[in-house]
Amino acid sequence: MKGMLFYLPVLLALASAQTPLEKLRIALDRLRGPAHQGVYELQVERLEFVRTYRLRVYTDGKRTHLRVLEPGNEAGQAFLFLGEDLYLYDPRLGRTLRLPPAGRGERFLGSDLTFQDLMGRDLEEFFQVAETQGILVLTPKPAAPTPYGKVEVHLKEGLIERILYYDQRGQAVRELRLAGYQGLNGAYLPREMELRDLKRPGHRTLLRIAEIQVGAVPERCFNPLYLERGC
């Protein structure tokens, strides 16, 4: 009986311990932040040029509506991420298009970010999660539709600090760094996101939050009909 009492705290600690998958799930949930609207700055760096976009963002944590404010020649483009569905409004076409799921792999505004990075939960769906020395090591499930051989997720106090994508030859090809987490209404939001293409030096994308206003976002913002006129 005495022995059982001795082991009880250990057993309780084990029962309450999070699995690596749970840790990943919680970290991803936290990454989405609270419902808010704001202005993001997206800087696309290449060897030959640097292009900066200003984006108006409306999100409830699960769905996101993005509008390009600057530069002038691309202003008016709008994107709506509704889980699996992705809509794009192009003012030059004057039409709203629904992109096929395959379009999620496309680069967002020519940056190193893909629509999948912005909206997806591939890390949960396509990978098996293990933990090694405090780092979540993700390996693809059999026949998973991911081109990566391994993904490392570095956490700091339960928040994602760095994601390193490896190719199938064990070489790191892509690095995502998240910084400046801000606690907002019990949720967290990284104010800076840096994505580097490790295969192409000089290819870097920075995403910064310039303005933020936490609070409920009108439901119409998540209606494709409002992509053209704004919400």
Binding site: P100, P101, P147, G149, Q168
Partner: protein, 396 residues
């Protein structure tokens, strides 16, 4: 017979002139043989590429699919095709997809095939350069240049995404077929995987049918008479893309050009014969005054033109067929074709081009002899028909 002897003797009288005339005809004969051989060889290489690698000798699909090759116009039920000339048939499901490696994303047409059925139908399974051909679902075989472009290797996973689904497939083979569409754009997956990627309840988008070479159009036509409503068969020539227009355009350009070559050669022969006749008008007048009919004299001149060009024709045939034999058995145009394939990777061009070797080209080239004789009859011959012997015999 005496006319022929006479004409032959006259031809030999001016050996240098005859040699120069023959040289013109040699040049034209070689050009005609070579151009015909090259054009036909090009056409045959296209048929070979499309029938054996890119498409199939005959393809059966819904009429809607021919208009818009989207899986939504695919086959829910596979048709039963019966024809005595059908050697093999296999369903295929082609669909547009995005191919994603860790380094690159590229669009392309994925071909869902039955691995065993494809062996009986296409040469692609036998052109695997590294690895092996498909054996089960979950695998993909790529053209080797496409694999280089995507930077994927054997044993690695390639993501294939369509609007309806995504699969991570293991690269098990790399194909090097020497045909642009296969090497630069070939993506072959198991039919079951293609069905899953299509996300529709279809079994295939079309049925590929193997028939003997040269029978494609007739078999397609006969199949069309018995196919269920809404299905249509097409022979290999109808399956070619814009490259067919290029081939037919080349024929349209080169065939009149060859006709012009032959006409110019005949004119060169006849103009020389004309000069020769003018130089010998007194001689002809004497012969005519001795009782030789003007028509026979004109025939003799025509014969002289035919003999002079005939000598060139024979030499040209020997040289031309020698050249054709060489270029039909040696890959002389390989470097040029490889460059063309690099420039137009999805045109269905083959990296090898061998000229065709057909006896009928000799018949085409011999037209220059007939043309020379005809023109000689018309011009120098007419000069002789209007000859006034007394005028020349008197030496005026």
């Amino acid at each position: 017979m005496s006319l022929l002897k006479l004409a032959w003797r006259n031809v030999l009288r001016q050996k240098r002139r005859t040699a120069l005339l023959s040289l013109v005809v040699v040049y034209v004969t070689v050009a005609v043989l070579f151009l015909y051989g090259l054009l036909d060889g090009y056409g045959e290489s296209l048929v070979e590429a499309y029938a054996q690698y890119v498409q199939a000798p005959v393809v059966v699909a819904k009429a809607g699919w021919w208009q818009d090759p989207d899986p939504e116009h695919g086959l829910e039920v596979l048709p039963t095709l019966a024809h005595p000339l059908i050697q093999a048939q296999s369903p295929r499901l082609s669909l547009y997809a995005l191919l994603r490696s860790p380094y690159r994303v590229q669009g392309g047409v994925v071909q869902g095939v039955d691995p065993e059925g494809e062996r009986a139908l296409s040469r692609v399974p036998f052109k695997v350069k590294e690895g092996r051909w498909l054996s089960r679902s979950g695998e993909v075989v790529l053209g080797y240049r496409l694999a280089q472009r995507l930077d994927v290797r054997l044993g690695e996973r390639l993501v294939v995404e369509t609007g309806q689904g995504a699969l991570g497939l293991e690269v098990v083979g790399l194909v090097q077929a020497g045909v642009g569409n296969v090497d630069f754009a070939g993506v072959y997956v198991h039919l079951e995987d293609a069905r899953r990627l299509s996300g529709r309840g279809i079994l295939a988008t079309h049925v590929a049918v193997k028939v003997p070479r040269g029978q494609e159009a007739s078999v397609a036509q006969e199949l069309n008479q018995n196919l269920p409503l809404g299905l249509r068969a097409k022979g290999v020539w109808d399956l070619m893309g814009p490259i067919r227009a290029d081939y037919e355009g080349s024929r349209l350009v080169y065939l009149p050009l060859m006709g012009l070559f032959m006409l110019l050669a005949a004119v060169a022969v006849v103009s020389t014969v004309y000069v020769s006749v003018r130089e010998r008008l007194r001689e002809f007048a004497v012969v005519e005054s001795l009782g030789f009919a003007p028509a026979r004299l004109a025939a003799q001149v025509a014969l002289e033109a035919a003999l002079a060009s005939g000598v060139g024709l024979v030499a040209g045939l020997v040289l031309g067929y020698g050249l054709l034999w060489y270029t039909s058995t040696h890959d002389v145009f390989g470097p040029l074709m490889r460059l063309s394939v690099e420039l137009l990777p999805e045109a269905g061009l083959s990296e090898h081009l061998y000229t065709a070797f057909r006896p009928v080209y000799g018949l085409y080239a011999s037209l220059v002899v007939a043309l020379s004789a005809l023109l000689a009859l018309l011009f120098p011959g007419r000069l002789l028909l209007g000859l006034e012997p007394s005028h020349y015999v008197k030496g005026e």
